[in-house]
């Protein structure tokens, strides 16, 4: 034994690595006994370590909440800022709206068409509905007719 060429960094590292392994496998009661012999209170260590973990847990949960809120805000902003161009003529907008209802018939109840014909809707109603559909991204999924 005794390779004198080893560095002192390595000497200390090897001692500490082996002591680290000892800490991992030593019986728990021995660790506690050693702590008490060195004048340390294991209950105080327990409280302090748990506090570190609890604080980190709480901070992590709060961060997750903040991230979710920011994500929601970003989504809302992106919906309201979405650019879209509706047909310039009332007939062109009416054709688009018709296309939406035929390709996504499940939306019909949302526009209370049960008791009304499409022709009963005013041009303003149709324009307003199309804007909402565009903001929600519904128009992106619909094949829209070309404007005449």
């Amino acid at each position: 034994m005794g390779n004198k060429s080893r560095s002192h960094n390595e000497r200390l590292a090897r001692i500490l690595d082996n002591l680290g392994h000892h800490i991992q496998i030593a019986p728990g009661d021995e660790l506690l006994e050693a702590a008490r012999e060195n004048g340390r209170d294991p209950a105080e260590v327990n409280a302090r370590v748990k506090d570190i973990l609890r604080s980190a847990f709480k901070a992590h949960q709060q961060k997750a909440l903040v991230d979710a809120k920011q994500g929601y805000q970003r989504e809302i902003s992106s919906i309201s800022e979405r650019q879209f161009h509706l047909p310039r003529t009332a007939q062109g907008r009416r054709n688009w709206f018709q296309a939406v209802l035929s390709q996504a018939p499940q939306l019909q109840p949302a526009f209370t068409l049960q008791n009304r014909e499409l022709s009963d809707l005013s041009d303003e109603d149709i324009e307003s509905h199309l804007k909402k559909l565009a903001q929600l991204g519904v128009l992106d999924a619909i094949t829209l007719p070309e404007e005449q």
Partner: protein, 222 residues
């Protein structure tokens, strides 16, 4: 009549613990668990020295736990206890910090101030190692600091290793174990080579651990 043998079921995939399970595990940590966690973190911070970059053993515990919480590391409940998982993360992050320093010694966060290198000369006057340089070129200065820092670290570690050895100079078994450790031998190799029983080796290592911790605590002013 014998029935057909039942095909063996593949072992279920281990499930990473949920946040709620992790929260419960914190509350269930015993004094033994937290003592082992704290001692491990202290041991690793001492082991990586300047790689810790002024972070404490408590920072190391916190960082290890955050890695488990954010899913970078997983706690598989069926395999290890929460304390064992946290200790594994502590070892791993300490190595990562040490590796980061090794690869990025030139970063400002690892640089020491020139004031750290000031020393009194024989006449009691404070001098800087840069006083000897006519017009310091930046690369030469960095190289100078790096060499000086490494030499300082090497000398600090020599003093610590010597102190630990000296503390056990009258303890034959501890001296043998310490020499074995420094020569790269692990526990089983030392036990086999020197015919120590498991208990003899453990009690000796325990004595060394206590003494070494005291020396490290005194050195780092804890």
């Amino acid at each position: 009549m014998k029935g057909k043998p039942t095909p063996s079921q593949p072992a279920p995939k281990p499930q990473a613990a949920t946040k709620a399970e992790i929260h419960l595990a914190i509350e269930a940590l015993t004094d033994e668990d937290t003592e082992r966690i704290e001692q491990t973190a202290l041991n690793r911070i001492n082991r990586i020295g300047r790689g810790a970059n002024r972070r404490s053993h408590e920072d190391l515990i916190q960082e290890a736990f955050i890695r488990i919480l954010d899913g970078t590391r997983h706690w598989f409940k069926g395999r290890v206890s929460f304390a064992q998982c946290l200790i594994g993360a502590i070892w791993s992050i300490a190595s990562e910090w040490a590796g980061h320093r090794e690869r990025n010694k030139e970063l400002p966060e690892y640089a020491s101030l020139e004031s750290d290198l000031l020393r009194p000369n024989d006449q009691g006057k404070t001098t800087s190692p840069f006083d000897e340089l006519q017009s310091p070129d930046l690369n030469i200065v960095e190289e100078f600091i790096e060499t000086d820092m490494n030499a300082e670290w090497e000398s600090e570690n020599k003093a610590l290793a010597d102190k630990i050895e000296a503390a056990f100079e009258n303890d034959e078994r501890a001296t043998i174990v310490l020499m074995g450790f420094q020569d790269g031998m692990d526990g089983p190799a030392i036990r086999a080579e020197f015919e120590f029983s498991e208990k003899e080796f453990r009690t000796t290592t325990r004595r060394i651990q206590r003494g070494a911790r005291k020396i490290m605590d005194e050195h780092y002013g804890k």
